[in-house]
């Protein structure tokens, strides 16, 4: 083989992987990278989208949103909504997964519970929002049951009262999201070798000790991975909050996604909306990098 042929062959081998990757790179570039870069560009322009010749604005729009108290309360609500959702998704998912993995429950009942527990996952965000609006409306079933049980004395406006709205919408999101944890943890539980539990039994370990020293450490990689993904996804939840409360009453459920939406489609301030979207992007990016580093470390 001549030197020329050899170098041609080497070049072909070097280029081949990129050719295989090119369709997906093109799609990612067009559908993800390009819009992202465009939005970042908008955040530095005055009257972005609305004017054909927008002027450069520097950091003006970032300064404006950081000076807005509603932005900071939205950030706080987002963190509360996200943290509470992730913690309860994980707790409820773990309890249900342990229940479905237990030999003490009748197999038929276990199968029925498996279907019931996974139901919230089958509904779209819009359906979930409508269901909870109907259940939690002042004349709804929840108030009626709680009043009959003597737990509350008068009708509570769960979504319409600033004191309860954020908790109510977080509760609806917890209900909607725990099946992801449940299914993942159940798969993890079924992968833990039985030997570990038999050895623990021989050593006289109690049920809670087996949970703390065998089950949870074995599930830890799944718990961390799913928690991080859930954190990133929950931070961006929009339809559930928008349909149940619209960010109200009085900004009490305003989160970063609804705040950004209102800037864009209510105020038509697409420059500030882009700046707000970039802030969400940076937070999500930080979490994603953390997730990638964790995955690499494993």
């Amino acid at each position: 083989m001549t030197r020329q042929k050899r170098s041609h062959h080497r070049l072909k081998r070097a280029v081949a992987p990129y050719l295989y990757l090119s369709p997906s790179l093109l799609i990612i570039g067009l559908l993800m990278l390009l819009p992202m870069v465009t939005v970042i560009g908008y955040s530095f322009q005055n009257s972005a989208v609305l004017r054909r010749d927008p002027s450069f604005a520097g950091l003006k729009h970032y300064q404006a949103i950081f000076a807005d108290p509603v932005f900071w309360s939205s950030l706080w609500h987002t963190l509360y909504f996200t943290c509470m959702s992730v913690v309860f998704h994980m707790t409820i998912g773990m309890v249900f997964a342990l229940m479905l993995n237990s030999d003490r429950i009748n197999p038929t009942l276990r199968n029925i519970l498996r279907v019931l527990y996974i139901l919230p996952w089958l509904f779209t965000a819009v359906i979930i929002a409508v269901i909870w609006r109907l259940l939690l409306e002042p004349n709804g079933v929840v108030n009626s049951v709680l009043m009959q049980m003597g737990i509350i004395g008068s009708k509570v406006e769960w979504f319409s009262s600033p004191e309860t709205a954020l908790h109510a919408v977080t509760f609806a999101n917890i209900w909607a999201g725990y099946p992801l944890f449940m299914v993942s943890l159940l798969a993890g539980l079924q992968g833990i070798p039985k030997d570990f539990y038999e050895a623990a039994d021989i050593d006289g370990a109690k049920a809670y000790q087996k949970l703390i020293f065998i089950t949870i450490p074995q599930l830890m990689p799944i718990i961390i991975s799913i928690s991080l993904l859930d954190f990133i996804w929950t931070m961006q939840v929009f339809p559930l909050i928008w349909i149940t409360t619209g960010g109200g009453p009085i900004y009490s459920t305003e989160v970063l996604s609804t705040y950004t939406y209102k800037l864009a489609f209510s105020s038509y301030n697409l420059s500030q909306a882009s700046a707000s979207a970039v802030v969400i992007l940076l937070i999500s990016l930080g979490l994603t990098l953390f997730y990638i580093r964790y995955q690499k470390a494993r």
């Binding site: 406006e157 409360t245 619209g246 009453p249 009085i250 209102k262 209510s266």
Partner: protein, 415 residues
């Protein structure tokens, strides 16, 4: 059997092709973006366009239709990129922004050049002196009264003033039976409740939320309205869940005999009848302040129409608008939409065939159309700001005066 193409046949085919191609080239294709087609009976808007095309040879209309929200976004982007359709369906709340983008043509010169009779139209929406929109069809907002609940409560005379309304609402309220006198939707998701259910009280009494083109929310009319609404809420006559209630839920509560009175669009009459055919309801104008005897402002939402400033076919576009605003065509269109006409001489057929619509038409004729949000900058944002302040007031966090002052401050920043 063989088939031979004769030279004569070829000549005829060529001539036919040439004729077709020339006539196709001569046709002006107008693009008309709107959200009306999906809301009208199937094929009815297309039929009107076909009639227009028949009356105006050489002009073809392409309808670009979609839901309201999609159309709004499409028009915003079209205005920014200079790709707005020749003729656009408009909501009054959008025109200020579109005008700021120089996206809408001034129809004043077209009216003058064609000798258009301005007295025949109910309204011409102007921004900075430019005529940018005609309301083609108007959906007015009277008060719907559940007559069975009113009779059971002993309300024999339907309210005409705010004080009478409060008394009637009190009588109709039985919280233990989940029954309330009035319903107020102030969801931030769709803050149109500010326009339809709050400001309508101001306009009904011939008052205004503006002064010299600027917001005047701290003035007596708005503060009095907020005080009145607060008194209704304090009296416990408003159906609970105000802060997240939407217009759709308001209608559902009325349909299910859970509220005695609501301010709502006349466009919902057929929906209400469909949802509860047994519901016995009547329509009255929005009650006014004590001793007011002047003409009543009637809140309304409209299907507006305008011409793109970037259109190369403004002359043809103006012909289409004239056609839609003409007496007969306008009457036909609004009859299909159950709306009131943009042409004052047009009389939709439902006003004679339907008692409720007939009554509403009387209210419409005796008052005037009033919606001060039309033409304001970022109208929806202004409603959201007012909505938040009204919610704070109803939650007991501030007085009507403070709510009005905070809203005024927020609005002034937008002007």
């Amino acid at each position: 059997m063989t088939f031979r193409i004769q030279p004569a046949m070829l000549k005829i085919a060529a001539a036919a092709w040439l004729l077709g191609a020339t006539s196709a080239m001569a046709d002006t294709a107008l693009e008309f973006t709107q959200w009306w087609e999906p809301e009208l009976p199937a094929g009815s808007l297309r039929a009107i366009m076909n009639d227009f095309e028949a009356a105006n040879p050489g002009i073809k209309v392409t309808l670009v239709s979609g839901p309201y929200a999609t159309t709004r976004d499409q028009i915003s982007v079209g205005a920014a990129t200079g790709t707005l359709s020749d003729v656009v369906g408009l909501d009054g709340a959008w025109v200020n922004n579109l005008n700021a983008q120089n996206a809408l043509a001034d129809m004043n010169p077209m009216m003058d050049a064609s000798g258009f009779d301005k007295t025949q139209v109910a309204d011409i929406i102007k921004v900075d002196g430019k005529a940018v929109m005609f309301p083609v069809a108007s959906f007015v907002y009277p008060v719907f009264v559940n007559m069975d609940l009113a009779a059971q409560a002993g309300v024999t005379k339907l309210p005409s003033t705010r004080a009478e309304f409060l008394e009637a609402a009190k009588k109709m309220t039985h919280a233990d039976k989940n029954q309330y006198g009035w319903v107020l939707p102030l969801s931030l998701q769709t803050p149109s409740g500010v326009q339809n259910d709050l400001m309508s009280w101001v306009w009904a009494s011939g008052q205004s939320m503006m002064a010299d083109g600027k917001p005047a929310l701290e003035g007596k009319p708005v503060v009095d309205m907020l005080t009145f609404v607060k008194s209704l809420n304090d009296a416990g006559v408003v159906s609970p869940g105000i802060a997240t209630k939407t217009e759709q839920e308001k209608v559902e509560e009325f349909v299910n005999n859970r509220v005695g009175m609501m301010i709502d669009s006349l466009a919902h009459v057929n929906l209400i009848r469909k949802r509860n055919p047994k519901l016995n309801f009547d329509l009255i104008p929005v009650p006014v302040v004590e001793n007011y005897t002047g003409k009543r402002g009637l809140p309304y939402a409209s299907w507006g129409i305008g011409i793109s400033a970037a259109s190369k076919h403004q002359e043809e576009a103006w012909k289409l608008i004239q056609y839609l605003m003409s007496e007969k065509v306008n009457a036909k269109l609004v009859s299909l939409a159950n709306a009131f006409p943009g042409n004052v001489n047009a009389k939709p057929d439902f006003v004679t065939s339907d008692k409720a619509f007939g009554k509403a038409f009387e209210i419409f004729k005796s008052g005037y159309l009033a919606n001060e949000f039309t033409g304001l900058p970022v109208a929806e944002d202004l409603m959201t700001q007012f909505d938040v302040e009204a919610q704070k007031m109803l939650a007991g966090e501030q007085s009507p005066e403070q709510a009005a002052a905070s809203a005024q401050k927020g609005w002034m920043a937008k002007f």
